[in-house]
Subunit: 159 residues, 2 copies
């Protein structure tokens, strides 16, 4: 299987506090889904390349929760949230917070679409409480983490 | 203690998919908080007057979840969500979905402020995925449920 590097599209709506991410993967929908709910797989791809990920909790089912820490040479960054709904192979709705700035919470909805031929389109919608909070997340380097994470996910799915 | 009926202010921002609710209560912050996390108290005030509430789960702590059913003469309505963060006496962040329309999820942040003299101000921020979804919730009669619920909460807090 070839591992074409696909483009990640990140769109910030000028009129609403959202970010929409779209990305295609050369893998069946079930595999892309499993890489989002199995903590042993998640820790292999989520986030930028220069970080390690330690998972405290990752209970990816409706009503479950998660907490993990990313570490690099500059320090550590802990994130936590809840899985509002996990609909197998189809949709995950979860909350997301950086523990260092706990008043800022985003609601993230990931939808997977089967494109046929073993290919899958992922759409991620992030909802922020204000346009300022959304612009702050983009300015913090979100794009690098998303791009590098999905490149690692390509590699994992190709195994 | 008098049970002044206080005005509930419900504000829909024309430019963002939010609803902001503010309400004051003649009760200490700890009591208003407890009425939001103890399921035996919650079922006595949440929602319009003509409904009964049956709680399936109500685990109001960070990472917990809830599910309950409101019933009236017309039928039953089940709601579910997660408690993203429960910060005692101060703040609750939770997701919210009507099970009959599961793709529409809101993120709700309640903040309690101690006004002194045994009085408390509640601010509720609801974040919807679009202005259309927000306007649909308002059109569904949300205001009646909020107002009647808070009147019942006044009565409970005065006991």
């Amino acid at each position: 299987m070839s591992t074409t590097t696909r483009e990640t599209t990140i769109t910030a709506d000028p009129a609403a506090p959202t970010v929409v991410i779209t990305r295609e993967f050369d893998a069946p929908r079930e595999n892309v889904f499993r890489a989002h709910v199995d903590p042993d797989l998640v820790k292999r791809w989520l986030g930028p390349r220069d970080l390690t990920m330690e998972i405290d909790t990752y209970d990816a089912r409706t009503g479950g929760s998660y907490r993990y820490t990313h570490r690099d040479s500059d320090g550590e960054y802990t994130f936590f949230g809840s899985f509002h709904e996990v609909r197998p192979s189809e949709r995950i709705v979860q909350t997301f917070t950086y523990e260092g700035f706990p008043d800022s919470v985003t609601l993230e909805t990931m939808t997977l679409t089967d494109l046929g031929g073993g290919r899958t389109r992922l759409e991620g919608l992030s909802l922020f409480e204000s346009i300022e909070a959304r612009d702050g997340m983009i300015a913090s380097g979100m794009e690098i983490g998303v791009n590098e994470g999905y490149e690692k996910l390509d590699e994992l799915l190709a195994e």
